[in-house]
């Protein structure tokens, strides 16, 4: 019965238009599920490939065995003592087992196992035809598929991403017959909705993709993407332009068409009076067009549109019409908005909710003003700088009340800058308004101007304190308020700001201002703990990206005399640059000695105090103690100054100076003596040394080869 015959399996799920954003993940999922299904069915196969368009999910499994392999197996039943009653008659347990395996009682054997004697049946499974087992398994596979959002349709109970309208399931030339709530698998597929609407018979899995091509469907997303890119460039170059093709927009277009066609459209030059970001956003977000620019990066009055069907002239005419309508709309909003200066929109912020419990946008702006005042004082800014910052704070959210931003939400800040300039606000204010949302996307640079950076930091501190204070910590892949992104942005800015307050100080200030507005957040200590874990997780990722070794990151985050982001980053980078030098290896070895003895002592409930005042030189018995004490006194005073200057290189040099006295003490003095006062005194001395090492790093975290 063993069969070596192989054939291709085709599964096509024909649907109404699936959301473009679902497709990539769904095709991966289909590939995984089919692979798992074939493995579970013990059907050998070569490879599984999935393809798709908005109207179909296709899986092709190559070289699928036409039969399950035959298998000899032993099936264990109930324990022997459960198989017979007191009279020695077979029990229900035994009868049931025999029945379930389809054998007579005589065929049941009893075998000794380590757990006792058990009923056993030897079975020979000759294997079933692949078509048969697939017919049972494929409906379950289809039902098990998950989507970001599902629906029911008609009178059916099943859920899917969009309604299923047909299914093709073939193994070689044979239909694998199954049914899902009245939808039957067969051999009839459909072509392009408009160009080849009639159902057609699939001759074989191998010919399917070609038949689809004949029916104006290019099933392979990769092929569609290549055509779109090639054609877009060709069309743009024909007028000396370059298409602006972002990967997301390309993918969306790939999954909006079954057969891509491209056209070049134009719009009247007069619209170039509108801010370029508005035009670009209308083209990309609303119409999914690729905007065009010249070699200097200036926007041109044209676009490229990807379409699925239609007479090119009619489609172009429609595309141009809708774009002009959109631009007219935007122009209308622009002119209406500009009838008043930007500051006139500020009162309206009191009517826009920022977050149910955190108040309105105006409440947020008021908090930011007070935070700005505190920051400017901490940074010792002069009055004109503070005034500029306060003006920027005042106006930073005003554009959220404009019609333009309501229409184009992704232009927040950019419209604010535009309108601020039109209203004659200082350039520094206008720039800061746009910059305070930066970096807008991962990989973008942080704000350039001092004012913009300050505003960006305060806005995000307020956001993080507010949301985390309400208990919205990001979990797993769920971060609906973009808190991780906000944290990373904050780190990227603060990494370049030596003088900014520490994280704990910023968080406290943020918390104070919420309390001032009588907003109930979780208590400050709990908030600090939550935010510290959020910050440290992002800092880890940030430092890793900057090429710092993982153990050095741990050493950095486990140390420091405060939590200044600038300090963390500088120390981590310094450790990375030193890590291969012999001196660093030596200092690492030395530094772990006091750390180890202190933690061993702590296990015995002996706690040392890291203060030079708690060390009594009159109790010293050895020269090494005096030498270390003197060295530490010098180093401590010096390092405290250096630390607040962030001069970590100099701190490293200072630590090298105490290297020798520390080692000498360990080599010549017994620390853990029985005499309690002596022991405590020595431990305190070492705790002072340890504290100095910790200014730079937790050396115990460093992996030594």
């Amino acid at each position: 019965m063993e069969s070596k015959e192989r054939a291709t399996l085709l599964l096509e799920i024909g649907t109404e238009e699936m959301p473009a954003g679902f497709m990539k993940e769904i095709l991966d999922q289909l590939q995984e599920r089919l692979t798992e299904t074939l493995q579970e069915l013990r059907l050998e196969f070569g490879s599984v490939r999935t393809l798709g368009t908005p109207r179909r999910l296709i899986a092709l499994a190559h070289e699928v065995a036409l039969r399950q392999p035959a298998e000899q197996r032993t099936v264990r039943g109930p324990a022997k003592r459960a198989c017979f009653d007191a009279q020695g008659n077979p029990t229900q347990a035994l009868l049931g087992f025999a029945r379930s395996r389809g054998v007579s009682l005589e065929q049941v054997q009893f075998v000794e196992t380590p757990q006792g004697e058990y009923a056993l049946v030897e079975e020979y499974d000759e294997g079933r035809p692949a078509a048969e087992v697939l017919a049972e398994a494929l409906p379950a596979l289809i039902r098990s598929m998950t989507f970001p959002k599902t629906l029911r349709w008609g009178a059916r109970q099943m859920r899917f991403g969009r309604p299923i309208r047909w299914m093709v399931a073939l193994l070689a030339q044979e239909v694998i017959p199954f049914e899902l709530e009245g939808i039957r698998s067969d051999r009839f597929s459909r072509g392009h909705r408009f160009q080849s609407p009639e159902p057609f018979e699939v001759r074989s899995p191998e010919s399917f993709l070609d038949q689809l091509r004949q029916a104006h469907v290019l099933a392979d997303p990769q092929e569609r993407a290549e055509i779109i890119q090639r054609e877009a460039h060709r069309l743009a170059e024909s007028i000396g332009a370059r298409p602006m093709i972002e990967p997301d927009l390309l993918e969306e277009n790939v999954f909006l068409v079954e057969e891509p066609h491209l056209l070049l459209g134009n719009f009247p030059e007069s619209f170039l009076r509108l801010p370029a970001p508005v035009l670009v956003s209308a083209m990309k977000k609303h119409e999914k067009f690729f905007p065009l620019q010249n070699a200097e990066g200036q926007l041109l009055p044209g676009f490229i549109s990807v379409y699925n069907n239609g007479a090119p002239d009619k489609v172009r005419e429609g595309n141009e019409w809708v774009l002009v309508a959109r631009f007219n709309d935007a122009g209308f909003f622009y002119d209406e908005d500009l009838k008043q200066p930007l500051e006139a929109f500020v009162p309206a912020l009191g009517r826009i909710l920022y977050q149910q419990k955190l108040g309105t946008l105006l409440d947020k702006v008021n908090r930011l003003k007070r935070l700005a005042d505190r920051l400017a004082r901490a940074l010792d800014w002069d009055p004109p700088q503070l005034q500029t910052l306060l003006r920027a704070v005042e106006l930073c959210k005003a554009d959220l009340a404009t019609q333009m931003v309501m229409e184009f939400p992704d232009l927040q800040g950019i419209i604010g800058r535009e309108y601020a300039l039109k209203a004659g606000e200082p350039v520094a204010v206008a720039e800061a308004i746009a910059e305070h949302y930066e970096p807008r996307h991962a990989g973008d640079p942080p704000p350039q101007s001092q004012i913009g950076r300050a505003l960006a930091v305060l806005d995000r501190i307020d956001t993080l304190v507010g949301y985390v204070g309400l208990g919205y910590m990001p979990k797993g892949s769920s971060d609906p308020f973009g808190l991780r992104r906000a944290t990373t942005a904050l780190i990227e800015i603060l990494a370049e700001e030596p003088d900014y307050p520490t994280l704990a100080e910023l968080v406290q200030a943020g918390h104070d201002e919420y309390r001032e507005q009588k907003v109930m957040l979780k208590p400050l200590p709990a908030l600090q703990t939550d935010l510290r874990s959020l910050f440290y997780a992002r800092l880890e990722a940030y430092l890793e990206e900057r090429g710092v070794r993982y153990d050095l990151i741990r050493a950095t985050l486990g140390s420091g005399w405060d939590d200044s982001v600038y300090g963390f980053v500088q120390r981590a980078l310094l450790l990375q640059s030193l890590s291969d030098t012999p001196d660093f290896k030596a200092i690492t070895l030395t530094a772990t000695r006091p750390a180890n003895i202190l933690s061993a002592a702590e296990k015995k409930q002996i706690r040392a105090v890291a203060s030079m005042n708690e060390v009594d030189p009159t109790l010293f018995e050895h020269e090494a103690e005096h030498q270390l004490y003197n060295a530490l006194q010098n180093a401590t005073a010096q390092m405290e100054v250096l630390y607040y200057r962030h001069d970590y290189q100099a701190i490293y040099e200072a630590l090298r100076v105490i290297d020798e006295p520390v080692n000498r003490l360990f080599d010549s003095v017994m620390v853990m003596v029985d005499e309690e006062r002596l022991r405590q005194n020595r431990l305190n001395l070492l705790a002072c040394a340890n504290r100095l090492y910790l200014a730079l790093a937790d050396f115990t975290q460093i992996v030594q080869e």
Binding site: L151, W153, E287, G318, A325, F332, Q356
Partner: protein
């Protein structure tokens, strides 16, 4: 094709398909969905195939007749097919042919757009339909109304007649649409639009509106309790419109907003539950009727 001719052709198409052609509902609504012919009838097991023009009011969308596309009062062409037929998309495309849009000649796209109406506790999954880049229809499979699961599911097809007609007549402004034989949309509606804009944004007596809201709310809850579903629902719709007016006046603070929506939803939900009860007590009478619907009926004409 004039505006009214286009509407006639849609009426004729859906009539031929087998839909009941209803007349517009006579209470102010924000969309065709809110008319009882959709909200209430979308629930329960009875089949329901209807189409109607629905004048719709969204006070906050007014632009003093200065915007070429936005009005506080406009029309929707609403079709409800329950249960949603398997060929519903094809049927919809045929309806476009009826108004002179040959699907083969244009780029017609179904772009994901799920729909939600918080005041009705309603939500659905579907698309906006694009014709050469312009949204012409909202296409939705209702999943929930009044917080109740729809079973079977109906398809809701909501055409934007002004937008469609602008494309057909190649006009850049709604005000230039030819309503019929040289008379324009502006001739018919502009004064209406302007006066309502002034009223909505500047004149509406908000204290009166707040009082009315309370009165209608109380009355709706009271009579829903007594099983008078349709009057109760009308009053819930009145609350919804008053809420929209107050919102346009900027008289509802952001913190109150959610609670007003919640209050309207509670009224709507009560009506939906009562409606189902009433229909059930009558053994869902429309289950007994034979609906003759489908493209074949149209072809056989």
């Amino acid at each position: 094709m004039s505006f009214q001719e286009m509407l006639f052709r849609l009426e004729q198409f859906w009539s031929d398909y087998g839909c009941l052609i209803l007349q517009p509902y006579d209470v102010e609504v924000g969309a065709g969905t809110m008319a009882p012919a959709t909200t209430l009838r979308a629930l329960g097991p009875e089949p329901w195939y209807v189409a109607y023009v629905q004048p719709s009011r969204r006070p906050a969308d007014g632009r003093y007749a200065r915007n070429p596309m936005r009005l506080q009062h406009y029309y929707q062409y609403q079709v409800i097919l329950k249960p949603s037929p398997d060929d519903v998309v094809d049927v919809y495309l045929e309806s476009l042919r009826a108004i002179g849009i040959e699907p083969e000649e244009h780029d017609i796209r179904f772009v994901e757009d799920d729909w939600e109406a918080p005041t009705l506790g309603a939500s659905g999954v579907g698309w906006e339909v694009w014709l050469n880049g312009t949204e012409i229809t909202q296409f939705t499979y209702f999943q929930q109304v009044g917080g109740i699961e729809c079973d079977p599911v109906c398809a809701e097809i909501t055409y934007g007649p002004e937008r469609l007609c602008m494309l057909i007549q190649k006009k850049n402004s709604v005000w230039d649409l030819e309503w019929h034989r040289g008379i324009t949309y502006a001739d018919v509606d502009k004064q209406f639009e302007l006066e309502h804009n002034y009223y909505n944004f500047e004149e509406a007596d908000t204290e009166m509106l707040f009082r009315l809201f309370e009165m209608y709310e109380k009355e709706s809850a009271r009579i829903a309790e007594r099983g008078l579903v349709h009057p109760a629902f009308d009053l819930a719709l009145k609350c919804s419109h008053i809420f929209n007016l107050l919102d346009a006046r900027g008289s509802i603070s952001v913190t109150e907003r959610a609670s007003y929506i919640q209050r309207i939803r509670a009224l709507a939900r009560a009506c939906c539950l009562k409606h189902l009860e009433t229909r059930e007590a009558e053994a869902f009478p429309l289950l007994q009727k034979e609906w003759q619907v489908g493209l074949k009926h149209r072809a056989g004409k």
